[in-house]
Symmetry: C2
Subunit: 673 residues, 2 copies
């Protein structure tokens, strides 16, 4: 017997969520109806009884965060946002998955208020939620006082079997358990259905036991039983010392007579007939589509009003706290503005100014970081268990540890992918400018969150050291070849490979000033000599991505342009000297960032790299792609093969990257051309 919708307002509300999802997917003729239908019961309970939000103030700093890691269920989120009174209209819902709509196929941060993160690539939301929960702990530790608790929000996330199969989800959950993030709760939508069929096909592990092993508080419930849901969510909210996993056994496509528990419900519309059958089965009017009963609107309006009151109450506390401790309030503002001083570059330059000895850029970066941390309170981060090598500890600041969030140094463990997803969560939470460090080769382990940071426009900084074959003996498994160029291909990611300490200071300056997207710093393991710059050199020039480091002396012919990056700049300068002795004039262009250089006006670029000049590119990696700057006829001195295990000076010789070898190749090439 179908339930009587007039009898039970909550059933009516749950069915409204389900039917909005069904109708939107039908209208788009594409999408994922099954997950929202299966999740509507617990999502309703979460939003109506636990999630703390003010739909008119989606940026309230102490709001609870809601993460739909199973981003394919986007209509669940859009329906809840609409019903809850966020600025997302029924018209927006009707434009689901259409060009320029606010309701794209997967939730995109920024497309609508209340969408806290961009999800869809599975497992990422698991990590984003960890970052947000850590950020809440950081803020609580920094700003709460015995008299005033102004940070106390929680993070709730819905995760699917796919999120929990992905390794990034495992890494992030292990971090959460380690840090005892009691302010984090996942609801696992355990519908036992994957795209290929039953989870029995590939996923027979005991998920609850696994999460207990991570240190989670695990509960198992019937995800359609509202009493069980309420009890479990209340227990999760009450738990302060362990993150929670609520395993909610659900049925995908719940309510649909023929797609219930079916893999087909996952990723395709029910179709008109089944949509109609579903409405009939639920006692829902066949027409109109996108129906929201008035009493359901009222129910959500009551919840919105509660949220508004909670926000008002918080604002009162916040003002009292501000008045009691204006200094702390000023710190709050700086932190949340991610403020950077106007003279940042000068100060970072000064931090390395006295360095006239050869130094690895990873070491220079470590020096710069100390000053940057002093100047930018938002800066915090860590390494995927390589800090002694990446030089990324903020000295004098304690480690982030279970129950200890006063510091700024993270230990992510050997979990690059989880680190990347956590960094995104930290950036999304508001406050932190997070950085994460590892060897450049292991950027391959974390490409998905790097891409999402770029897509979402998050200020995240990657410190990638050991940036070429010149890391030496660790050999080809650890030696980047294609990594630098392939990171350059990610839209809205800026990659910078500095050549010495000063360029490293410039690189950090760009990264700290660049609010609309991530920056990757690509740093050497080996020592690099400080470069000599011309008299009157303006340091700001280094911020342009590419500049004339050393002009050609007089020569018999038009100078050849030697473009180099990072550790290849110094041998290029050496080659310039040798060539000059042979009557060949050359200009050395240091080009730490191809992307920044390409953003310069064309005339400026031509002044640095004249289009008709013979041009050489020197970079110890794939040069495929440098044609865009240097032209198709350029001599490319790079590496199109994997590296080798040997001391780095041997490798430089074997691979032809010493100054004399470069000079020789250039001279022969000029002779041939």
């Amino acid at each position: 017997m179908p339930p009587d919708p007039t009898r039970d307002l909550e059933t009516l509300a749950v069915n409204t969520i389900k039917m909005l999802a069904v109708d939107a997917v039908e209208q788009a003729k594409s999408g994922h109806p099954g997950m929202p239908m299966g999740a509507a019961d617990y999502a309703f309970e979460l939003w109506l009884r636990h999630l703390r939000f003010d739909p008119k103030a989606p940026d309230w700093p102490d709001r609870d965060r809601f993460v739909l890691s199973a981003g394919h269920g986007s209509m669940l989120l859009y329906a809840l946002l609409h019903l809850s009174g966020y600025d997302l209209s029924l018209e927006d819902l009707k434009a689901f998955r259409q060009w320029d709509s606010r309701t794209p196929g997967h939730p995109e941060h920024g497309c609508a208020p209340g969408v806290e993160t961009t999800t869809g690539p599975l497992g990422q939301g698991v990590g984003n939620a960890v970052g947000m929960a850590i950020a809440a702990r950081l803020a609580a530790e920094r700003f709460n006082t015995p008299a005033h608790r102004i940070v106390g929000h929680r993070v709730w996330a819905i995760v699917s079997d796919g999120d929990l199969m992905e390794g990034v989800g495992s890494e992030a959950a292990s971090i959460a358990g380690h840090l005892r993030l009691g302010n984090l709760a996942y609801i696992y939508d355990d519908n036992r259905i994957t795209i290929e069929g039953s989870t029995d096909l590939a996923f027979s592990e005991d998920v609850g036991r696994r999460f207990e092993a991570y240190g989670f508080f695990v509960q198992r419930i019937d995800g359609h039983d509202h009493t069980q849901i309420r009890t479990a969510l209340a227990a999760a909210a009450a738990e302060e010392t362990r993150p929670s996993l609520v395993i909610a056994r659900t049925h995908i496509g719940q309510g649909s007579p023929n797609r219930h528990d079916s893999a087909k419900a996952h990723g395709e519309p029910l179709g008109p007939a089944e949509a109609a059958a579903t409405k009939a089965a639920l006692g829902w009017p066949a027409q109109p589509a996108f129906l929201v009963p008035d009493e359901v609107r009222s129910l959500f309006a009551v919840r919105a009003a509660e949220g508004r009151r909670a926000h008002d109450e918080w604002r009162g506390r916040f003002e009292a706290w501000s008045a009691a401790d204006p200094e702390r309030r000023a710190a709050w503002d700086r932190y949340h503005e991610r403020a950077v001083p106007a003279d940042l570059f000068q100060k970072l330059l000064a931090a390395v100014g006295g360095e006239e000895k050869p130094a690895a850029t990873r070491v220079s970066s470590g020096l710069v970081l100390q000053k940057a941390a002093e100047l930018v309170p938002s800066l915090c981060g860590g390494s995927a268990d390589l800090e002694p090598s990446t030089k990324t500890a903020i000295k004098g600041s304690p480690s982030i540890a279970p129950g200890a969030f006063a510091g700024r140094n993270f230990h992510f463990g050997v979990r690059e992918h989880g680190m990347g997803a956590v960094l995104n969560g930290l950036a999304l939470a508001g406050g932190p400018i997070p950085y994460g460090a590892t060897f450049l080769i292991f950027s391959d382990y974390m490409r998905p969150p790097i891409r999402l940071a770029a897509m979402t426009g998050l200020q995240v900084i990657y410190v990638f050291t050991h940036d070429s074959v010149f890391l030496g003996e660790d050999g080809p498994t650890h030696q980047p070849i294609e990594q630098v160029m392939s990171l350059r291909l990610v839209p809205n990611l800026v990659v910078i490979r500095p050549a010495d300490a000063r360029e490293t200071a410039a690189a950090w300056t760009v990264a700290l000033q660049r609010r609309g997207g991530p920056t990757a710093l690509v740093l050497s393991r080996q020592d690099l000599p400080p470069l000599k710059r011309p008299d009157g050199f303006r340091p700001e020039t280094m911020l342009r991505g590419g500049y004339i480091l050393s002009e050609a002396g007089p020569g018999r012919r038009a100078p050849v342009i030697l473009i180099a990056t990072g550790s290849e700049v110094a041998p290029a300068v050496e080659a310039q000297g040798i060539l000059a002795g042979q009557g060949v004039g050359s200009r050395v262009v240091s080009m730490p960032s191809l992307e920044l250089f390409m953003q310069q006006p064309e005339a400026d670029r031509r002044a640095v790299v004249p289009p008709d000049a013979p041009t050489v590119v020197i970079e110890a990696g794939r040069t495929h792609g440098w044609e865009r700057v240097a032209g198709i006829d350029a001599l490319m001195i790079g590496l199109d093969r994997f590296g080798a295990s040997a001391p780095y000076k041997v490798l430089a010789e074997k691979f032809g990257f010493t100054g004399p070898q470069i000079a020789d190749r250039v001279r022969r090439w000029l002779g041939d051309s």
Copy 2:
């Protein structure tokens, strides 16, 4: 009191392993001594009592596989190989980490016999071992008979905390537990030390409990107590229905008075003083370095002789089996040779020959796969839970499942990274030509194993569907932009993006014939029209990577070259027609593989893309890198931004990829130039 080496031969042997590692690292002045020192006890027990191998026949198909996932402990492996009698001399050990040596910093498959896989990037070996264990099950199921058991080997792997923190390790372990791989055993070197310090910093989970959740048989032992080690390894070897995890509590740098249990022991030499102190503490002669006592040589020689006998005995069984069942033996040979028929291309073409209707290349690929599976018994694979979309099931063959290995269809779950590592293990094991499928965007989740397949020269096939923004409504999180070009940057990976069914058959042909490295097939979600080719067109032309699909008709000026790939070829042909109507002659070049094209002789390339002709590249992704083929002055019609959620025909229009839009842009560009 230091132990008396003369009293205890086994202690002497263990100390030999330790000291070879210490001496080699000292000599190289770089490397990782701590892990081999801590692992020597159980590694000795494993190699001397359990691992079944014949050092003179490292390719014995039924040998046990040994995987050192913690590849930084390479000297442990090299020491064991040397002592066991493999072709790896003391001179080789003395050349540790030197140019062109057989003992690189991390083990590289092929550098020395007995190195079963290339490791170093953490977590990969965990997955390789799963692939090898599955391959053993596949072979046992295919070739063992009630009368003859010719496949019965096991896979043993040593893993570190880093391997177990990495998500790829979690994914692979979950697969192993699901498939109940009783022939797989990991020894977890639980030394509680990471590079940053104690594992307490970031890794406090209960690893044993987690592996029990995956379905493992978990044992916990003192990793220096030989009695406990023997008992545990014997129990692991006896367990047939669950994979094993032996958690061996060890001490990094064991034997070193001052680096014992120290993070410093991990990645740097002990130094001469501490090396000397260690030798003194172990009662080991200060000189000579690289000492191998005769009695230790004899001990290992006894083991080698046992291995030789086991191999001889196996050979006898194998011959008896061959005689009893010559047909099965012939199948064995075909399987292990990864044989492909000479007329493969013709037959795969015929499989799609009748297709004159528009079809997505993923669908054409599905058709080709059926024929390929019929012709190539080695071919097996599956998808990361996207088979209904990737069209990668071999019809009529059962699924690989717990206790069921007769089939060829894998269900990897939503575990792209684990899939990639398992594919490498399958390829390394000998026999399978494995393929793995997912959406192209999720190639980002599995770049490390793709790179390792390329480095190791493994024949692995990736089927990446949903290859551009034209997947439509799922939006930018799912739409590849930089993926195609960035995969092209991986050395020794061939990327092929076919334009229709026939090119898809050619792509599979390349992949199946290409034994020395991996191939990525990049396929459309949406239908593509079959392309019309000129009369007398030789299909082999399609194997060259780029070819003239449609020659220019007569025109007023030199023809413009339109280079396109995949789904952009058909609109290029449409544009050609429009341009012809406007008196602009153009040639359409289909270039499914930039890499294959670049391998053609220069004259042939120039015949297809004349260097001086105006050239246009049309590819719905990052075009950065196409300059190498098309020149710096080419018109690039691509996408340098993230995509958008909308129906794909809308996206084609909005992003300017329709035939008329392309024609219009080309005409305007020609007018301007």
